[in-house]
């Protein structure tokens, strides 16, 4: 069984061969490890990897499964379940105006109909006392502002619709994209 997990932009690919009775072996490239495992509670597993015992703590989150081993926590999304599509924005570069973390809109710097330069500040969001300016990913015209000051916003949510000059191709599926992203990642993470 091939497993493909994504941690940020990195893919961890390995194969798993169940051996029954709470055991499996896993192969990373040419390295093979034998694993015994047992669930201790909903969020806790005991692993024994090549004879050495480790506790792992796990929890489902909207972004994937959070896994802690030895003080190190990783957010791992199952790529199979999410389809083979990689995370938008990672390979393709940023295209939509969306906050990097759950945040509150504190300032809107542009108006509908306004032409903006690539890199121009469009709005300011604030999370946990840190302000972040969201900028235009390409030159264009603001066609719609989807939020108001004081509003809570989340990653994936498109805050400003931007129309590129007619010649520019990446604008085509702008509005539809975030919804599709959310759906595909949901499948992977839950």
């Amino acid at each position: 069984m091939d497993v493909r997990l994504r941690h940020n932009e990195k893919i961890i690919a390995f194969s798993v061969e169940p051996a029954g009775d709470g055991r499996f072996s896993a192969t990373f490239g040419d390295r093979r490890v034998d694993v015994a495992f047992e669930r201790i509670s909903e969020h806790q597993l005991r692993l024994s990897v090549d004879g050495c015992q480790t506790l792992a703590f796990v929890a489902e989150t909207p972004e994937g499964k959070a896994v802690m081993v030895d003080g190190r926590t990783f957010l791992l999304a199952d790529e199979r379940a999410a389809g083979t599509r990689s995370r938008p924005g990672a390979a393709n570069g940023p295209k939509a105006v969306t906050p990097p973390m759950p945040a509150v809109v504190t300032q809107i710097l542009v108006a509908t109909g306004q032409a903006v330069e690539k890199g121009q500040g469009l709005l300011v969001v604030s999370a946990m006392k840190m302000d972040t300016i969201l900028t235009a990913p390409f030159a264009g015209v603001v066609t719609r502002i989807n939020v108001a000051e004081g509003q809570k916003v989340a990653p994936g949510q498109v805050l400003v619709d931007l129309d590129p000059p007619a010649a520019d191709p990446p604008a085509a599926d702008r509005a539809a994209e975030p919804a599709a992203d959310a759906a595909s990642i949901d499948q992977g993470g839950r």
Binding site: F37, R39, A56, R72
Partner: protein
């Protein structure tokens, strides 16, 4: 002593203050915004009063609402914690006027020490060494040029109303001065409503060493040794320790005396912290006074065996400080790691969200001042601090090992924390050698990435979790149904 105290704060510090109040037999009142209806501090008090929407200006910074909550609950005193209204002279003044005890220094002291240039002048007059530079704030290029001439390069521009690194700029060459001053002044004006700035000598390779002081209302002032807080990211401390590896007993005594002199000069009452910059030659310079309980106060509590919050409350109640300088003795070594909801892989960007699972570290010499719990939704509106993990051990080496063990057993799932990053700081050779300077992270860990080996182990755990049945593990004794009738002649213990 007070019968009831309102804690005008949230999160871990509110919880920590309530614990001392409970131990003193003082009833506690929590205030909470709409985002904090289920916050740990809200749940931990004897009474909880809603004070408005999530937005801080409408709740935790809203003096009217807080004063109203004090009156409604009959609290006699307010503990402001740190942040929010803790260093707000207007709030302290308002309390004074309304007959409410503000647990902190007098409003006048807060106001004077809150203005950086005023504080510099007070300290200079009191004989406390200050960083060479201007003693007057200015907003015109001529004054800046004169100040720069006198100060020398490299120099640091600071906003006189400043804080949090805003308006701060390093200038290396005279040619860059005017432009940098103008930019800093604009930034200060935007942030604080006042664009006045001043110039100080820039001290590279320095350490941040602060002295905890305690003063009662009768003029008895002592210090409770130092804390070194050089490990910072984005001008915010992430690891603090005491004692500092840079202090000799003589230097410690000198800095302690300077801090006490600073407090005396300022007319200080209650607990406070005098921050210094320590240069590589062992010269120290006054930086500022934090007129409140410091975030990192627990490490001082660990090595001195004292409860600072209790001392604050007693002093605010007019009691004398029954502790002499000679009685204050540090024992062992303490380290604090701040556990923020932030992502060390993405430049420490905030990471609010729901705590899907929390497992706190435990064991001898481990203290975790925590403000969250499994299932709590960490709000986007406030400081990202989730908890402060503190350890105490016989020596620095043992404290590092204890902190390492504690961090490794600390699971915070659902929001990103820098626990793995902190482990790598502790494991680094310069940290272990005590070479802790304010540029530590930029110098040693700028290229940090998470451990690859652990990532593979986590991937195995991911696979195991998918394969392990979710049901209760087998092999345990089934609990039987009910206590029945029984007869007993006699028990004995083997």
């Amino acid at each position: 002593m007070f019968k009831k105290i309102l804690i005008a704060n949230r999160g871990e510090i509110a919880v920590r203050i309530m614990r001392t109040c409970q131990e003193m037999g003082i009833a506690t009142v929590a205030v909470y915004s709409e985002a904090d209806r289920h916050a740990l501090h809200t749940l931990s008090a004897d009474e909880a009063m809603p004070i408005g929407p999530a937005e801080p200006s409408q709740s935790y910074l809203n003096m009217d609402r807080i004063i109203e909550a004090v009156k409604q609950t009959g609290a006699e005193a307010v503990h402001p914690g740190y942040g929010f209204l803790a260093e707000n002279a207007d709030f302290a003044e308002r309390c004074e006027r309304e007959g409410i005890v503000f647990i902190g220094p007098p409003a006048r002291v807060i106001r004077e020490l809150g203005d950086k240039i005023t504080a510099r002048r007070i300290m200079h007059k009191g004989g406390v060494p200050i960083i060479p530079g201007m003693l007057e704030a200015a907003d015109d290029p001529a004054a800046w040029a004169a100040g720069a001439e006198q100060t020398g390069f490299p120099l640091l521009i600071k906003a006189s109303a400043g804080g949090g690194g805003k308006g701060m700029r390093i200038v290396q060459r005279p040619a860059d001065l005017t432009a940098a001053c103008r930019a800093a002044s604009r930034e200060a004006a935007a942030a604080f409503g006042r664009g006045t700035i001043y110039l100080e000598k820039f001290l590279p390779k320095s350490r941040h060493v602060e002295i905890q002081i305690v003063a009662d209302s009768r003029g008895h002032i002592i210090h409770l040794l130092e804390r070194e807080c050089s490990i910072q990211r984005r001008h915010q401390k992430i690891i603090e320790e005491t004692p500092s590896t840079a202090l000799t007993p003589a230097l410690r005594a000198a800095m302690g005396q300077a801090a006490v002199a600073a407090a005396r000069t300022a007319g200080y009452v209650n607990a406070g912290t005098v921050e210094f910059i320590l240069d590589p030659e062992g010269r120290f310079y006054f930086l500022e006074v934090n007129t409140r309980l410091q975030v990192e106060h627990p490490i001082t509590e660990m090595i001195t065996g004292l409860d600072l919050v209790r001392r604050q409350i007693e002093i605010a109640a007019g009691r004398p400080l029954s502790l002499t300088q000679e009685e204050v003795r540090g024992r062992g070594h303490a380290i604090e790691c701040r556990i923020y909801a932030e992502d060390p892989e993405r430049n420490f960007m905030p990471s609010p969200g729901r705590i899907a699972f929390l497992r706190e570290p435990a064991g001898p010499g481990v203290r975790n001042d925590c403000g969250v719990y499994t299932g709590f939704e960490v709000p986007v509106e406030y400081d990202p601090i989730l908890s402060k993990l503190v350890v105490h051990a016989e020596t620095r080496d043992l404290a590092i090992r204890r902190m390492t063990r504690a961090l490794k057993s600390y699971a915070v799932l659902g929001v990103r924390t820098p626990i793995d990053f902190l482990l790598d700081v502790l494991a680094s050779a310069p940290f272990q050698a005590g070479e802790t300077h304010t540029d530590f992270i930029a110098t040693h860990l700028a290229e940090w990435v998470p451990d690859r080996e652990a990532l593979e182990l986590a991937a195995l755990a991911h696979a195991a979790d998918a394969m392990a049945p979710k049901a209760r593990p087998a092999g345990r004794i089934a609990a039987e149904a009910h206590p029945g009738p029984w007869h007993t002649l006699k028990h004995w213990r083997l």
